[in-house]
Symmetry: C2
Subunit: 186 residues, 2 copies
Amino acid sequence: MNIQEYIKSYIDSSFSEVLPFPVVDKVFPKDHILHYPGEVEQHVYYLTQGIVEICIVNNEKESILEFIFPDSFFCAYASLLTQLPADTRIQCLTDCTISVLKRYDIMEAYQHSLVSNKLGRYVTEQLYLKRFGREKQLLTMDAQARYLELITKRPEIVEKIPLYKIANYLGIHPESLSRIRKKITS
Amino acid sequence: MNIQEYIKSYIDSSFSEVLPFPVVDKVFPKDHILHYPGEVEQHVYYLTQGIVEICIVNNEKESILEFIFPDSFFCAYASLLTQLPADTRIQCLTDCTISVLKRYDIMEAYQHSLVSNKLGRYVTEQLYLKRFGREKQLLTMDAQARYLELITKRPEIVEKIPLYKIANYLGIHPESLSRIRKKITS
């Protein structure tokens, strides 16, 4: 679905206006980097096709924060809000079709547009729920439980994403993930 | 500051209207529990005086998610959004003065009120930044670095909150926290 359809589905079923901010649709090739560590985020992205990876780079250690699937907004959101540099890298794991919004245009729309604020609130709520769920996982679940939750909620992850990336996302060594997978299937 | 002043400070400096939702100010005694694990959240709280603790209760293990200080909105937010039971306990660590908002009234205001949506978006953005910061800490910093960041950002925590609670928040044993504190001060 495109952003208009997203708004109709989640914000306002009667929405039929032109979007209150400009949007440019682009195609990015596999491995393209949308955001480099150290940059200040000036865009919001909406994924219509493909898979995107967001990771934190800290002292040369990379921790995958999340995988983005179609029909989701994403960006280095903390940096977008604070306008401080983000130690985040955002990269296309496949060829991707992405709608690109500029921060400046969104901030303009937030001034006066009710639907923009409803959309911004809703998207931020969804991002909050993702972060909260992840924090709870890290605090209360072991790696096997985290893996089981992941493949239950997102079965396509196992098909489409290399194991070493899934292991990184879970915060464990690839060998530990192999052990967990063997244990589950046996 | 009260909620009107909060809106003036962060949302709209010219705001002078009546709030677009009813608010009831209440005083709760130390140790009062605002939200029990298993409940579905129906309120949003705004703390004007005191300190509140939010923790996750999972298999009888308690993990402190955060301490709330004055001039902040809080509640079992994931449960408020999803209307699923939360394994969260929210408890007053001191006597507290709190403005209480009902979920129903907020949802009503979100339908038509621009300032309510701006406020909801802003508050959710702040909650997102807290969760994201915590996740990053858990993924990339060791306990000593987490403790140093905590006392730098929130020096009043060390004065006002018992050490065993700070250790729980950091995800370490109280003895480990004592060792870290000795190491830092020596």
